[in-house]
């Protein structure tokens, strides 16, 4: 059985470490905050100028001056600090954020990432995504393993090379899909390795939905990063 969105988020949460400063993208990555282990100190950064992001406010307590990068109302915590956008991205660009978890449209076996534009469609802009993938120490992508085209055929999202314009070149360290987990050695350029398979899913099923070449190492030797 493929993983649910929550199971994918839970798996992504295994990449958290005590004391980490983390930036979470919109969508499944946001769910990761529900799976921070009890007793583990993880501070969430919001690139619009906040460290120590709290949960959504109770109804009636929304503050127009307090939003996250998705423009949603949020709350502050005792650990919170605020800063300007230039200070926020100095923090990101300078490599001070330990982990970024974000969604993607396509990932290539060398770690290239595409998640900001589809040629021919209206382009909304990359926001902070290019800065995050270029600056954060470890980049984890969480996404559906493949897309379904209108005619019902499977369109792989893990590719030899991205077909869409890149958000970043050789920036992804790990991809968590509904079918399994892949590690990417973006620095050495030695490609992608399947390191975990969702319960009930077979390697063959994964290969059928994957264009990217990948090695397999399910013994856990590649698990920690």
């Amino acid at each position: 059985m493929a993983w649910t969105r929550d199971q994918m988020a839970k798996r992504a949460a295994q990449e958290l470490r005590d004391g980490f400063y983390v930036n979470l993208g919109i969508g499944i990555p946001t769910l990761v905050s529900n799976y921070i282990p009890a007793g583990m100190n993880v501070q969430l950064q919001s690139e619009n100028g906040m460290l120590g992001m709290g949960p959504f406010p109770y109804e009636g307590e929304e503050d127009p001056d307090l939003i996250n990068a998705g423009k949603q109302t949020i709350t502050e915590l005792p650990t919170t600090s605020y800063f300007s956008s230039s200070d926020s991205f100095a923090m990101i660009r300078g490599g001070h954020i330990d982990l970024s978890i974000l969604g993607a449209m396509q990932v290539a076996e060398n770690g290239d990432l595409a998640n900001w534009m589809i040629p021919g469609k209206m382009v909304k802009g990359m926001g902070g995504a290019m800065d995050l993938v270029a600056g954060v120490k470890k980049v984890v992508v969480v996404m559906e393993h493949s897309a379904k085209a209108k005619d019902g055929t499977v369109e792989p999202k893990l590719l030899n090379r991205c077909k869409l314009p890149l958000t970043g070149a050789a920036v992804v360290d790990m991809v968590i899909t509904d079918l399994g987990v892949f590690a990417i050695d973006k620095h050495a350029g030695s490609g992608m390795t399947l390191i975990e398979i969702a319960d009930g899913v077979t390697e063959e099923q994964i290969r059928a939905q994957t264009e990217a070449d990948f090695k397999v190492a399910l013994d856990g030797s590649r698990k920690a990063a």
Binding site: E61, P64, I67, M126, G128
Partner: protein, 235 residues
């Protein structure tokens, strides 16, 4: 040197002209200089290049200047929330230059700090890097980005004294402090104006030197773009 003006129209008098470049603070609708944007709309000034992280939404923020077709070009990182923007862009009436958000923030900071260009990894190997100089430092690849400086910056602050010293509130700070430094004239709308000496000088984010004019704008019309809440636990 009187920095406090009676209203937005007065504070913008003599600084608006067609085809000028204006920076506008804010992230989404948070911390935007809405009263000053309205006055820019009412002035009828045209052909504007606007530097702002977003383009407002339909009927609010910079969306007002799109309705009246006063904007020729946007320099932004994300314009997703604005249908009018999409229409005008697809009709070829509006130009857009996308900048990664952090690159945009740093370009503005550089413009205000007298730094004409700097190098960043952001965007290397992407469309954003095309046509830009690339260079290696310590074996890593970077692209060169240039500073931005505008004719006018309009910003929003929470509290300010009559000397122009400003503080911001929570995430309404965002692009406002850098923009205050990166224009020939900076006009601030401030929710509460106090006498000098009222704000602890260690807490001031924008020093008065950067603020040429200011108006009192109580902030009663602040809007929320995405109202998200959590349920209260039953007692």
């Amino acid at each position: 040197m009187k920095k406090v003006y009676p209203d937005a129209r007065a504070a913008l008098e003599g600084v608006l002209k067609d085809d000028m470049t204006i920076m506008a603070g804010g992230f989404g609708l948070c911390g935007i200089p809405d009263v000053l944007i309205e006055a820019i709309r009412d002035s009828g000034v045209k052909g504007l290049t606007i530097i702002s992280n977003n383009a407002g939404i339909d009927g609010a923020g910079l969306g007002l200047l799109l309705e009246t077709r006063q904007v020729r070009k946007m320099i932004s990182s994300y314009v997703g929330e604005n249908k009018l923007f999409a229409q005008q862009y697809l009709a070829g009436e509006l130009e857009i230059e996308f900048n990664p958000q952090g690159t945009l923030a740093e370009r503005i900071r550089a413009g205000g700090a007298g730094i004409p260009a700097f190098y960043t990894k952001t965007g290397y190997g992407t469309l954003i890097g095309e046509g830009k100089e690339t260079r290696q430092f310590n074996g890593e690849n970077y692209i060169m980005e240039t500073g931005l400086f505008a004719d006018l910056s309009v910003i929003h602050a929470w509290k300010g004294d009559t000397e122009g010293n400003l503080v911001y509130r929570k995430t309404a700070r965002n692009f406002n402090p850098m923009m205050a430094t990166a224009a020939k004239v900076t006009v601030a709308q401030v929710e509460t104006i106090v006498e000098p000496g009222t704000i602890d000088p260690d807490h001031i984010i924008t020093a008065g030197i950067f603020v040429k004019r200011m108006i009192h704008a109580p902030g009663a019309q602040k809007r929320i773009e995405q109202r998200t809440t959590r349920p209260r636990l039953a007692a």
